[in-house]
Amino acid sequence: MWRLRVWFVDASGTISYTGAWLRSPNETAIFAFVNALRGLSDAQITHVDVLRRFPYDSQVPSGRDRGISVLVHRATDNTNTNTELDAFPMWVPESGIDAARALWGYPTLVQDYASKSGYNIDNPAPGDGEPVSLDNEYPDDTDDYYLIAVRRNFWHKLLRDARAYNTLSLTLPNEQARRVRLDIRDLFLGVPMREVLERLDRIIELLEGSDGANTDEIQRLLLQIIAALGSS
């Protein structure tokens, strides 16, 4: 059955919804129901949604690496393929990047899939994946110059106050700022400590490969983090 929800807000700003069950998402019936509610309630109807859950018989899960790949699919203008109308991220848990990138290559898939804004994905051109786990794939050192600088100075603060890190991300170029925000989200999601340490190891590796890297400072921070986490 489809679950129809009609959302209300009252004079105080408090939100509520009412629901009904539908055999199919018949738009005419939905609108008639909403109009009937309008006549009975003095609150404001803000939006309506209808949804249905479909169970799926899949394989037994294997593996527990986060391994989430983020894809950006470009929806392009048919008349001018250089114009990118919309793009959106898509995560595929427990997947390799190459496999996830090939997702839209499956023959039956392309038609009628759309971006979030409703543009058809009729010319899929997967952009570079943006891995959530930094150990999956790390862009070149140049791209990460800003991120390394941020981490060197703020990673220890991040563990105490993610908001400061987020504020800092506002001062960075878009690409680096996005990676910073992904890191913050990862921390809120509870990234395993092993992964945090691997990231720090990777930072040190990158710094060792560049001129003027202050690896002593990073190692000091790493030890601080380990000590802080060990005592918490």
């Binding site: 009975l40 003095d42 799926y56 899939y113």
Partner: protein, 167 residues
């Protein structure tokens, strides 16, 4: 003031790994095709996702939404905790549809809702006669009668409270 449809159906896929951790990913299917085709597309993509992931794909949810483009605003004194509680029968089983902030003009002196008002008769017609078979209970059995209609109060849940704090 009208409800404007979102441009797409949103399909949310749920995965679970061997530790039991769950994750979701979303894809979008344009509107304008019949719902059976939307389900077919969602199912095809589910098969593809299953093939590229080691996690278990436990299911997916298809949703569609409409947003009020120019809300006039709630009526003065409206409170969503004041419900118009309506109980409907579906082959002797009961199902409930609450109406948040029921208009006070719909409430009789004894606390019952006025079943003979034009507004209430309109709701009754939508659920029972105008779209026969469309509105059901959670088991999928069509609604066939009204069992009760009265005023009721509920508490405000924390997640639904306004973001601003009232003085």
């Amino acid at each position: 003031m009208a409800l404007v449809a979102d441009p797409v159906y949103t399909v949310t896929y749920t995965f679970q790994d061997e530790t039991g951790s769950k994750s979701t990913t979303q894809a979008y299917i344009r509107q304008g095709i019949v719902i059976d085709d939307v389900i077919a597309r969602a199912n095809a993509l589910a098969a593809a996702l299953r093939n590229v992931s080691n996690a278990q794909l436990t299911g997916y949810t298809i949703s569609r939404g409409w947003t009020e483009d120019a809300p006039a605003g709630p009526g003065g004194g409206s409170r969503v905790e004041r419900k118009g509680r309506t109980i409907w029968l579906a082959d002797t089983y009961k199902t409930r549809i609450d109406i948040p902030s029921i208009a006070t003009g719909q409430i009789l002196a004894d606390g019952a809702l006025n079943r003979n008002s034009a507004q209430f008769l309109a709701l009754r017609a939508v659920l029972l006669t105008d779209f026969v078979g469309d509105f059901t209970d959670s088991r999928g059995v069509s609604l066939d009668a009204l069992a009760a209609a009265y005023e009721s109060y509920t508490r405000t849940t924390p997640k639904r409270q306004p973001t601003r704090k009232l003085a």
